[in-house]
Amino acid sequence: MGLHTGRRSALLLALATATCLVATGCGGGSDKSGDDSVAVALITKNSTNPFFVTMQDGARKAAETEGVKLTLAAGKEDGDEAGQVQAIEDAIARGDDGILITPNGPGVNPAIKKARDAGLYVIALDTPPEPANTVDITFATDNFKAGELIGKWTAKQLGGKPATVALLDLFNDKIVSVDYNRDQGFLSGMGIDTKDRKVNGDEAKSGSYSAGTYSIVCNEPTDGAEDGGRTAMERCLAKNPAINVVYTINEPAAVGAQKALQAAGVKDALVVSIDGGCNGVQQVKSGLISATSQQYPVKMAELGVQAITKIAKGGEKPQTTSGLDFFDTGVTLVTDKPATGVDSITSADGASKCWGKA
């Protein structure tokens, strides 16, 4: 196209550019990476969640340090498998040495296999694929453990009081591992029998937790966002206004849930969450969130870039953490109300290790 394109083609060009930015991130052209320089693709679930934005920043910094050519891509939204498959195919076509991916679901597995067959080293970040050996290795938070930590803390805080629990999950129309691992981890931490560890909502609606009796009011989807969290909490309160424990899939959902609790005049509910983003730690400090499990996305991205660089230069492959089928990048409980027997750090400490922006 020349400089004198008509309005229509200009529009189409803008459309194409916009679409391609949204869908795949459109890395640089198809210049094959030479044998001397290492090329890595990072494919996140979406490009809006601060968690993945942080991961991208971490990868960029690590790539600069290592002198690696990094291409960023993402799905359009959580669960967008097609967009990720495209990004994997692009990485193979570019001749990248390795792929870092937070898989959106089992639909990307065949594409990952194709990449590995083509000689790329594939590392999953944050979310282990099902089955775990689809990729070479996963660097992730132990989401079940993250849930377990806030569950144990909640059981201790209640000190034997009956627990009336609202579970604010991610989805109710898609099954994703982060969703059931956190939810079921939380219930396990409370000392509640979860039945199937991969199914949300199949546990007994009432019974006893480690220190008293419990009843579960609801499992509601939030989409991991503030407005979803608020609507979900409102629906739970409509079912039972006496809720005193609120589990949330992530901190934006917790913020929305707090809005609903405040509007309903509920002041003393324990709201627990997972993420440890700077906004979330700020909420812990202000008392809106009672406790949160902090994870470390920057570390995941850094380790990922380093591992692929090392392998591309003929070095060793990373090993999984003993007893797990992935490399655990760690999780820490952040709260200003410590409970005996549950290790935690204060919100001030959490703020020094948090990700995203406050």
């Binding site: 309005r7 529009l11 916009a18 129309d173 503030e226 407005d227 409102e234 509007a263």
Partner: protein, 342 residues
């Protein structure tokens, strides 16, 4: 609400011969498009109240109003566009862009609340100008235009915010003000709900009583005939897209107040939800037929189903299923009524 201007000719035709009850029903529905959604709403209310008395409690109804406020506002803009036989797929993207820009300006540049809100509405107007210009000047179909701008505005919002949300604590009080609630009797109404109510009254009045409103209907009914009748079609169309855009900017303000933060992940399904409300509300996708109050009923119907089925302990997917059936039913009724005119 008043009848649509197209009803008069139908009345004359019908006066010429005896009518069967079915034809009479057809005629009534044609003259008053809001009747079918009203019946559905009353029926839904009765059934859900019977299943769980909690549903009809003032507290729960107040929450339904707050929950449908944002989509209800967006659906006003969507109704205007659909009345002109267009469709707006960029609703959600424009709203997110307006909200994020207003929030970022207030946060980073310390813009006072009033200016931030104005900036959000300004973004909406600008987006409406882009959509409207592409439709009128270049003559592209609205579906294609807004499909394109959906991607463009969405991408700009993400590039501009780097995907980060702005927490409530960093926002001026005025941006959160729409989420404040006050009691009316045993109901709790939010400022956002009041704004949406005012919006319906103002736009409903304009559509039903002003020359502009009649022009909107005329263009949707038959663009060429409207042109020949001396209506400045392009100018009216542009005004429709500008108005819709400003309304999306207003909806963005209501959304911030409700969510407690400005997040680019919000309202993922706004496009489809706004179109759904309009269609269930009896407005024809072929343009030129429908009333705004129908859209309000449509948004409330979806809200009732959401809350009612949840309180009945039914899986949320049944709500999705029911809403899908309602959409098909509404379009089928619309087609049936259109036979009155032929």
């Amino acid at each position: 609400m008043t009848t649509t201007p197209t009803a008069a000719t139908a009345v004359e035709q019908f006066a010429l011969r005896r009518r069967t009850p079915l034809e009479r029903l057809q005629h009534v529905l044609h003259a008053y498009p809001a009747i079918s959604p009203l019946l559905v709403l009353i029926l839904a209310f009765a059934v859900f109240s019977a299943v769980n008395p909690r549903f009809a409690a003032p507290n729960s109804l107040s929450l339904v109003l707050q929950q449908v406020a944002v989509v209800g506002a967006l659906a006003v803009g969507q109704t205007l566009v659909i009345l002109t036989a267009g469709i707006d797929l960029s609703v959600g993207a424009v709203t997110i862009l307006a909200m994020m820009l207003a929030a970022k300006l207030a946060e980073g540049h310390g813009l006072p609340g009033v200016l931030a809100v104005a900036a959000g509405i300004g973004v909406g107007l600008l987006a409406g100008l882009v959509n409207g210009t592409l439709v009128t000047r270049i003559g592209l179909p609205p579906f294609i235009v807004t499909l394109g701008t959906l991607s463009i505005f969405g991408a700009i919002a993400l590039l501009y915010t780097k995907g980060q949300s702005v927490p409530a604590t960093d926002l001026p009080a005025l941006l959160n003000w729409t989420g404040e609630t006050f009691p009316i009797g045993r109901f709790r109404i939010s400022i956002g709900v009041v704004l949406v109510a005012v919006l319906y009254l103002v736009v409903g009045y304009a559509l039903a009583t002003t020359a502009w409103g009649r022009h909107v209907y005329a263009i949707g009914d038959d663009k060429e005939a409207a042109r020949l009748a001396g209506i400045r079609v392009d100018r009216v169309l542009l005004s429709v897209y500008l108005t819709a855009g400003a309304i999306y900017g207003l909806a963005a303000w209501i959304l911030v107040g409700r969510a407690g933060a400005a997040s680019p992940n919000a309202i993922t399904d706004a496009n489809l939800e706004s179109i759904t409300a309009v269609v269930i509300g009896g407005t024809s996708l072929f343009g030129g037929r429908g009333v705004l109050v129908g859209t309000l009923l449509g948004a409330l119907i979806v809200g009732f189903f959401r809350s009612g089925l949840s309180l009945a302990g039914v899986d949320d997917q049944y709500r999705v299923l029911a809403v899908g059936l309602l959409v098909l039913l509404a379009v089928a009724v619309d087609q049936w009524i259109r036979k009155v005119k032929s």
